[in-house]
Structure formats: structure tokens, C-alpha cells
């Protein structure tokens, strides 16, 4: 199997890491496991990690992807960090709403709004 491109792109903005998804679908179990492992590594890199996940490219996700996001959220909380989600398309937001995860996660319309929401 040829080497695949990393599943995430990370942009550093001061002490906040902005994470972009490289694939429009977060469905495949292997793909989700890889994203989860990459997020875990980012979370473990620093004390009080601050992560902003930008969903602008994401068109599809499954319940397994939600599980991976919850795992990341729990891990960030354990380290007294902060997680923000932004740019979620309406069809994807509906998945968060049905599962009531729109109440668990802090979700913002735009990347700028999410960036501004991090506590100093």
C-alpha cells in the first residue's frame, strides 16, 4: 500500500491549533482511527491544549466519527484544555443536533468566531 497523505492539516495560531480535515468523508473505520490517533497526539503535545476543528471540507460523517470527537473532547478536558468546532455544514450539524452533541461541543459558525471564543 502506498503512503497516504496525512488526514489532517494543522495551522498554528498563537497557542491555538486549527485542524482541517483533508477528506470530505469521515466515515471509514480505518480513516477515523487514524484521525483519532493524530488528534490524540496533538492533544498530548502540550499542557492545556487548545484545538479548533474546522469542518469546512466535511460532507459526511458517521456515529463512529462522533465517537472519535467525543474521545478527543474528553481527553482535552482531562488536560484542562479547550475544544471548539467551526464551519459545520447544515447537514452535518443536523447529525450533532439529533444526537444532542450540539450541547456537548462548543460549536461556532465561523473560524473567527471560534478563535475569539477561547478563554484567555
Amino acid at each position: 500500500m502506498s503512503e497516504q497523505a496525512p488526514p489532517l492539516a494543522v495551522i498554528q495560531e498563537k497557542d491555538i491549533r486549527i485542524v482541517e480535515f483533508m477528506n470530505s468523508k469521515i466515515l471509514d473505520e480505518a480513516n477515523i482511527a487514524e484521525i483519532g490517533a493524530t488528534l490524540n497526539a496533538l492533544i498530548d503535545e502540550v499542557e492545556q491544549p487548545r484545538l479548533l476543528l474546522d469542518f469546512a471540507t466535511v460532507d459526511h460523517l458517521s456515529s463512529a466519527a462522533l465517537g472519535m470527537l467525543i474521545n478527543a473532547n474528553n481527553r482535552i478536558k482531562q488536560r484542562n484544555g479547550q475544544l471548539r468546532l467551526a464551519n459545520i455544514k447544515s447537514q452535518i450539524f443536523e447529525v450533532f443536533r439529533i444526537t444532542k452533541l450540539d450541547r456537548l461541543f462548543r460549536i461556532y459558525g465561523t473560524r473567527d468566531e471560534a478563535l475569539a471564543s477561547f478563554a484567555m
Partner: protein, 157 residues
């Protein structure tokens, strides 16, 4: 009965579907080993067929998500990733509705015993949301064969 040949990098080829045309649309029957790659191939073929009909974007999204959740459930929770066990998928894809039947060879389950994933004690758990999503997105869902067989319908409206 013909089936277009598919190029695949993988050595593993799913059992090709039995395809028949009915008055309600295209019937596709698959019988695959419990492996995610096979499940994915089945989904791709059903979604290709769906693309021949006029379904709006929300309906396609709903069918895609529900099919993914149901096939993963059958492989993972039904057959417990045992590749010697089979998953049977039947799709009836027509202009008015899509009907999907997914059956596994596991022990079965009772819908009423699946905990509510939206309750405060479960909201931070990493699994258990598939059925909730399927029920929210499909027009109807029912189970038979002690929970081993799931049948769901999405109306094109």
C-alpha cells in the same frame, strides 16, 4: 443479468450482487464476509444505483448515513468482526423509495435494551448512536429475526 466489471486494487472481491429489475425498481442482493472493505463496496454499489434516480441531497445524505451505520453495526456488533460470518444486504432502489434489509449472523439484540445515547449519563460515551441516527433519518425502521435483520425504508419526498 449483467454486472459491470470493477477494477479494484484489493485482492479481496466481495461477492457480486444478484441484480434483478422489479416493477418497484432495482433489486440488489449481496452476501458478504464480515469485513469493512466489503461493506464499503456494497454501499458504493447501492449508492451508484441510487444516483440513477432523482433523490434530493438530504435524502441521499440520510440513506448514505443509515446504510453506513447499519452495515457497520452488522459487521461489528452483530457478527463481532468474525469474517467467517456473513452479512446479507438487500436493496430495492426505485423512484418512489429505497428499501434496505441488512441481516447478520450474530446473537441478535433487542431495540428496547439499547441505552439512550442522548441521556446525560451516556452523552460522553463514544458509541451507541447509530440506531438513533437511522431512526431519525429513515421513514421507517423495524427489526425481525430477534434483531438480526433490520429493515428500513426511505421515501423519496
Amino acid at each position: 443479468m449483467s454486472h459491470p466489471s470493477r477494477q479494484s486494487k484489493s485482492d479481496r472481491r466481495p461477492v457480486p450482487p444478484v441484480i434483478t429489475q422489479t416493477r418497484y425498481g432495482t433489486s440488489m442482493k449481496f452476501n458478504i464476509p464480515s469485513e469493512f472493505a466489503n461493506g464499503r463496496e456494497v454501499q458504493a454499489q447501492i449508492l451508484d444505483e441510487l444516483g440513477k434516480f432523482k433523490y434530493n441531497s438530504d435524502s441521499v445524505f440520510a440513506i448514505k448515513l443509515s446504510l453506513e451505520e447499519a452495515v457497520v453495526n452488522a459487521i461489528k456488533h452483530g457478527n463481532k468482526l468474525d469474517a467467517s460470518k456473513r452479512v446479507y444486504v438487500e436493496a430495492l432502489v426505485g423512484p418512489d423509495q429505497v428499501e434496505l434489509t441488512i441481516e447478520d449472523e450474530g446473537p441478535g439484540f433487542s431495540r428496547n435494551e439499547v441505552p439512550d445515547p442522548t441521556s446525560p449519563e451516556n452523552i460522553e460515551k463514544c458509541s451507541g448512536r447509530g440506531i438513533l441516527l437511522i431512526e431519525a433519518y429513515m421513514t421507517s425502521v423495524d427489526w425481525s429475526q430477534d434483531g438480526r435483520r433490520m429493515h428500513m425504508v426511505k421515501r423519496n419526498d
